[in-house]
């Protein structure tokens, strides 16, 4: 099994699509860092001057009219039917501050979790694509038949291919995420704020990165299984696209409460350690009125982890069962 896995790893790294995928990942990483650089760049002198002017105008307006507007607001509040909104919420006229105008500094600890999460999406997609092609091409070219005349133990063959696809992507994902993490830190350290990057922040970011590596490996294994089941890379990608559009798009929009059972939210919950989602909750009040609220809910990390684990095990077992029984023509 170890020998077979090594052979499969050699095949994986020798494949042109793997090389193309790596170049693509490299380019996306560079683009991401360039975008971060432009996002973190402080305002130019002209832009700062404009922001200062905006602030001064707003402040003057507040000095001139805030009291008058508050008085008017309080008068309006008194005429509101019960139940009234809270006065302090309805009539807030805060004094404008200079930091409300212009661009706030980029804070490393704030942007990095989102960047890592975004990176986990494209890494998972690349891993799925490379995994699907890794097995799909073997079936579409017919080379699997030749391979089985050298090693007929199908479950070993299957296991070695999945293991190679998954483990082969671990260093790739780790390197990409490390480049994004440290590259962003260097950029923000020069242009923004890294002072709040405590040991706990690093620990949390490392955990998100580690889990993104795990999801990439799972995506590579799942891609391999789908490639095996459908025998063509294009068909595997088609299935993913159809799932994203129909299940994650249409189905999730119509049946919001089903979101905890869809892959993306569980993926997010696992990578980010809990994920938020929204459902519309409607109820009829005691006065007969019917109102709907947009309620935020949380999907736990544990739910996401168990979901992904069970989903992967089921798909891998299904692939193994099909491969074990399938006639290779």
């Amino acid at each position: 099994m170890i020998r077979l896995t090594k052979v499969e790893l050699r095949r994986l790294v020798s494949r042109r699509l793997t090389a193309v995928g790596l170049v693509g990942l490299f380019l996306i990483t560079i683009l991401l860092l360039v975008a971060t650089y432009f996002d973190a760049r402080p305002l130019s002198a002209v832009e700062q001057q404009q922001a200062q002017q905006q602030y001064e105008m707003a402040h003057k307006d507040w000095v001139d009219h805030a009291e008058e507007m508050r008085t008017q607001c309080e008068a309006d509040w008194k005429t509101q039917p019960d139940p009234k909104p809270k006065l302090e919420e309805m009539c807030v006229y805060s004094e404008p501050k200079p930091e409300d105008f212009g661009k706030p500094p980029t804070v490393f600890a704030q942007i990095m979790p989102d960047l890592l999460q975004g990176s986990s999406y494209f890494l998972a997609f690349a891993a799925f694509l490379i995994g699907a092609s890794f097995l799909g091409a073997e079936f579409s070219s017919g080379a699997i038949g030749n391979w089985l005349t050298f090693e007929p133990r199908r479950l070993r063959v299957y296991g070695s291919k999945l293991l190679a696809a998954a483990t082969g992507f671990v260093p790739i994902a780790a390197v990409v995420l490390a480049v994004i993490l440290f590259g962003t830190f260097l950029i923000v350290d020069k242009l923004g704020d890294t002072a709040s990057t405590t040991g706990k922040v690093w620990s949390d970011l490392s955990a998100i990165g580690g889990r993104a590596v795990v999801t990439s490996a799972l995506a590579a294994a799942l891609g391999s299984v789908v490639g095996l089941l459908l025998r063509h890379t294009a068909a595997a990608i088609g299935v993913v696209m159809a799932y994203l559009v129909l299940a994650e798009g249409v189905f999730a929009a119509f049946l919001e409460k089903a979101q905890p059972w869809l892959i993306k939210l569980n993926f997010d919950a696992f990578v980010r350690h809990d994920a938020q989602y929204y459902v519309t909750e409607c109820k009829t009040g005691s006065d007969g009125s019917y109102a709907c609220d947009y309620v935020q809910k949380t999907l736990s990390f544990e739910h996401g982890a168990w979901y992904l684990a069970i989903f992967t095990v089921v798909v891998v077992l299904l692939g193994g069962w099909v491969f074990h029984r399938r006639d290779v023509n």
């Binding site: 020998r3 077979l4 090594k6 052979v7 050699r10 095949r11 020798s14 494949r15 042109r16 091409a137 073997e138 070219s141 017919g142 080379a143 038949g145 030749n146 391979w147 089985l148 005349t149 050298f150 090693e151 007929p152 133990r153 029984r325 006639d327 290779v328 023509n329």
Partner: protein
């Protein structure tokens, strides 16, 4: 070593077409391939040759029946004997974007063969100079040679070639034929499936003929083609009348066939020339009339409803 390399009993395989229709590809095949030498596995297209080979190699599952390779039941114990089997099933299938050498290196690594063996088998199959070219750039003959090189990586005792000369030019056909003959002479067992009897006849020691997934005949080439009787010979001689009289008197059956005489029942073609020469009738041409697959097959399947 077992005297029988391959044995099948009651082997059966049915497929379902896309429309759900059941097709019987192999029905109760009893096959025996002796160890050592070349065994021709003959039958027209669609007779179940490739399906039988695939079942032997564990690529497809049999519905019923038993199979053994070197006395081991397969597919249950196939992993124990697979190292002794080299097989090419239909057209050679490798990773098209990899070089021939890379394809062989991967296979060699998978079975634990030393990497140096790759160079050796490439040289053996005259692919040494093209080993670093991509498989997809190979001609059909080169692909076939690479497939043979792959089978040789294992140094197998049993080689299975399924329609090995399909699409090859005459030089390629000859090369493959010589390779098979050479392997047979080395004491290896070569099972070669084909629908062209003439091709197999030149290399095979024994043959099995199947039709509609059933064994129709089996034995040495001479037994199967001649059905155990003496062959027909075609004779060119000046005096047809006198020659007919001489040969008929010797118990042979003679028919005119244009400028030739067709002589049946001669125990040996030399007997025909000797008897005619005794009467000062000199033979200018003598050709054994060989049965082709079509005629043998039609004869064998008479009454089979095929």
């Amino acid at each position: 070593m077992s005297d029988v390399a391959i044995s099948t009993r009651g082997l059966r395989k049915t497929y379902r077409t896309r429309r759900g229709r059941k097709v019987v590809a192999v029905q109760g095949l009893d096959l025996e391939v002796p160890a050592g030498g070349v065994h021709g596995f003959l039958g027209p297209n669609g007779s179940g040759k490739t399906t039988s080979i695939r079942m032997l190699l564990g690529l497809i599952r049999a519905d019923a029946g038993t199979m053994t390779v070197f006395g081991r039941p397969v597919p249950a114990q196939l992993p124990e004997v697979v190292g002794r089997i080299g097989a090419i099933v239909e057209s050679p299938k490798f990773f098209p974007a990899f070089t021939g050498q890379k394809n062989l290196e991967l296979l060699a690594e998978a079975i634990g063969a030393p990497r140096a063996r790759v160079g050796e088998v490439l040289e053996q199959t005259s692919l040494g100079e093209r080993g670093k070219d991509r498989f997809r750039s190979y001609s059909l003959g080169m692909k076939q040679r690479l497939a043979i090189a792959a089978t040789l990586l294992k140094e197998p005792d049993l080689l299975i070639f399924d329609e090995p000369t399909n699409g090859l030019d005459p030089a390629g056909i000859r090369e493959i034929r010589e390779t098979m003959r050479g392997l047979g002479e080395q004491g290896k067992t070569v099972l070669v499936s084909s629908h062209i009897l003439a091709e197999v006849e030149q290399v095979a020691d024994t043959v099995s003929i199947i039709g509609h997934g059933r064994l129709l005949a089996s034995g040495t080439v001479a037994e199967v083609i001649g059905g155990g009787t003496a062959p027909t010979v075609k004779v060119a001689v000046n005096n047809h009348e006198a020659a007919t009289r001489v040969l008929t008197a010797a118990g042979m059956t003679v028919r005119a066939d244009g400028n030739y005489l067709l002589v049946e029942g001669a125990p040996d073609p030399a007997d025909v020339t000797r008897r005619l020469a005794h009467q000062e009738l000199y033979v200018s041409e003598l050709t054994p009339v060989r049965a082709d697959l079509e005629s043998v097959f039609l004869e064998l399947t008479e009454g089979e409803g095929l």
